[in-house]
Amino acid sequence: MILDNKVPEGPLELKWTKYKSKVPLVSPANKRKLEIIVVGTGLAGASAASSLAEMGYRVKCFCFQDSPRRAHSIAAQGGINAAKNYQNDGDSVYRLFYDTIKGGDYRSREANVYRLAEVSASIIDQCVAQGVPFAREYGGTLDNRSFGGVQVSRTFYARGQTGQQLLLGAYSALSRQISKGNVKMYNRHEMVEIVKIDGKARGVIVRNLLTGEFNRHFGHAVVLATGGYGNVYYLSTNAMGSNVTAAWKAYKSGAAFSNPCFTQIHPTCIPVSGEYQSKLTLMSESLRNDGRIWVPKKKGDNRPPSQIPEEERDYYLERRYPAFGNLVPRDVASRAAKERCDEGYGVGKTGLAVYLDFEDAINRLGKDIVSARYGNLFAMYDKITGDDPYSTPMRIFPAVHYTMGGLWVDYDLMTTVPGLYAIGECNFSDHGANRLGASALMQGLADGYFVLPYTIGKYLSEDIRTNPISTNHDSFTKAENNAKERNKMLLLNHGKRSVESFHRDLGRIVWDYCGMSRNEPNLIAAIDRIKELRNEFWKDVKVLGDDKTYNPELDKAGRVADFFELGELMMRDALERNESCGGHFREEFQTGEGEALRDDKKFTFASTWEFKGVDEPPVLHKEDLGFETVKPTQRSYK
């Protein structure tokens, strides 16, 4: 496998402009003949499907939910970054690029990140034109807020529901193309296999979740926009249905997978309250604009927070990182919370929580302004915990939130399988070892609206002579049989343990050994433990019901089976990377002050894994990240 990132020559700031002016085009008459499959309808998928259809391609789009509007982008709260410099605070494309590279701890690809910063401004314009009701100033112009890891205000938002509003914008664009007949939409369909013919991606096998039927679909190109794999941890802020299956099938079909161990643990989530817990809820990072994080100075101090006087509180982020204070990046904030709790300063029943306090903000701004900014988040917190954040501090703890790793893609967003693209969270390209807040929405929409629609033309312009391939082709039959066989095994297994119990056990291993901190002996042990559990799963899993009606147990069993294989790869990846960077903290590699210690000489590359068989070790390829513009330095937020 050769990793050619296809980054264009020339100065960083001119690469994309030049690329766009030279990239081959496809004529309107030919576009009408070309079919593109888009899997997933979140920000990346919906924006790509609608844009490609507007351009004249024939698009088929799939989602596993009951409607494209349910994709998990909908739950993003805080906002979306763009280098508009509307606040006149010194922002620029370069600064957004630089912040993203630095925030990612120098483990992302410069050219892709620069392009992301470059197109960011157009995203805001596009969304406003669709009728997205962004927050505004009294004069009618767009409002901004600050997010972690930066010193400018470049985050656009719609109360605490930015993801919802952006997704409904993209969904409306997609709906328009569905009504025109340019997109054929398939709800409640899950992609279960990629079909390759002569080495190129030529289609997918999907399963109709309502009838259990398998269907074959041909495409000149296949685009995966299937999100992240945070649910490998069982507990995460992801939606219950979020899964790795589509990306994993791509990996097993020859698409390389990069940096799987780069996962983001978000610092401000509602803590776990018991065994039965099914998911974790994020409290937006925007809260750190006005909330102050603290723990008692005295170990095991179990007085109610209101009775702990100011001088007995440790505002540990402000203490350790005076320059950024409560707005340090997520990886730094999460580790600092873990450090305090590990040392015995945590609060709440479990001791696995810290306070996020709004008392100062309420005194400074008044309850009304605090409520206008965060009212819906406070209400959400109250509903879940039964506590009122206006009168008592929130208790928060880090939780799995986002996965920076994903399918390797080149500058065109194409995987190592020709004709197979990956966009949004399911690729690895832009966030390195840590993603900055409000950058996921930016990347999803950048890929879907403004990048893929250009780059896919490069591949398709050479494919205009390919007539649609019959889905009776052997490759389709083989792929469908694979998928059928797997389902049959699950249904006929008649074991003793529920799918849920296996998922919970897997999640605990991945969280304990590949969570906020990792070390060599644990990672080695975890590989064996996951293998054992995977074998037990295939021996003892119990899936009731049939494959002729809607059967969520069966759907879930297939997804959990893939999580086992992914979990193992994550451990291998974390083991291989003998350094600490971003969200990947190896205990053996830290500074005297407990900060992450990178090793740029040995590890300035994207770890890129090639599948060799379920029971064979994968092969590691390295994409050298070769920084040309930014000089990697130790990240400091002090």
Partner: protein, 250 residues
């Protein structure tokens, strides 16, 4: 926290063609910190243990925003709390030994798929009929080119907060989708970007709603009371006005 034991009467229906009936289950090992859906997870694990097929129900984000969860709990869409989706409802609002009845949304335009799962694709088709601004990618002016007063943006947001869950339909005695449709119509009618297609949009969306088999609005206000996002029926008035005006002037 304390242990909680409940009796659940749950609607079971194998498929859309099946007749369906209530089944009664006793569930133990619950506690008041659980969410309603976590309680359903516990029940399902207990059913799997007894070789009974688990209850199918729709859910995804479990934080009140995706709009997928959809249960009628003791006769009320999303249960007893105001402004709350099923997934945000917690067991502390129920008492030990309560009997809880759980049913799917019931409306002609939302046929039952299985157990508590219904087909809401009629909502998608209403949006497809005109719930958008026709603007292609790449053709937008600068985001600040058209100033929008803060109050207008806020009001448009209030309407746009709809999560498309269908509780309004499930609650309405006529199974009308007026609240859902009017929220989208109003969001776009309030904003300058929505003006060029304003008349056409309301006409198409209202016609589509009728065609999909939703009933008419008779202003009982039940939808507003049960809407988890507390969308106001004021938007229905606005939509009706827009609809009538657009037809008067042709």
């Amino acid at each position: 926290m304390g242990d909680l034991q409940l009796t659940l009467k749950v609607w079971r229906q194998r498929s859309s063609s099946d007749k369906g009936k209530f089944e009664t289950y006793d569930v133990s090992g619950l506690n008041s910190h659980m969410s309603f859906l976590e309680m359903m997870d516990v029940l399902n694990e207990q059913l799997v243990g007894k070789d009974i097929e688990p209850i199918a129900f729709d859910h995804d984000c479990r934080e009140g925003i995706c709009g997928m969860c959809s249960m009628v709990i003791n006769g009320r869409a999303h249960g007893p709390l105001k402004g709350t989706t099923t997934c945000q409802l917690h067991m502390r609002h129920f008492k030990n030994e309560d009997t809880i009845t759980i049913e799917p949304w019931r409306a002609k335009a939302f046929p039952v798929v299985k157990d508590l799962v219904v087909d809401r694709s009629s909502f998608d088709r209403i949006i497809q009929s005109g719930g958008y601004v026709s603007v292609n990618t790449g053709s937008a002016p600068d985001g600040n080119a058209i100033p929008i007063p803060k109050e207008v943006a806020e009001e448009a947001f209030d309407a746009a907060a709809c999560i498309g869950c269908g509780a309004c339909v499930a609650t309405c005695k006529n199974a009308s989708a007026s609240l859902f449709v009017s929220a989208k119509v109003s969001q776009l009618a309030l904003l300058p970007q929505g003006q060029p297609e304003r008349k056409e949009r309301v006409n198409k969306m209202v016609s589509k709603m009728d065609e999909e088999g939703f009933g008419h609005c008779t202003n009982t206000g039940a939808c507003q009371a049960e809407c988890p996002k507390e969308i106001s029926i004021e938007y229905i008035r606005k939509m009706n006005l827009d609809y009538n005006l657009s037809n008067l002037k042709g």
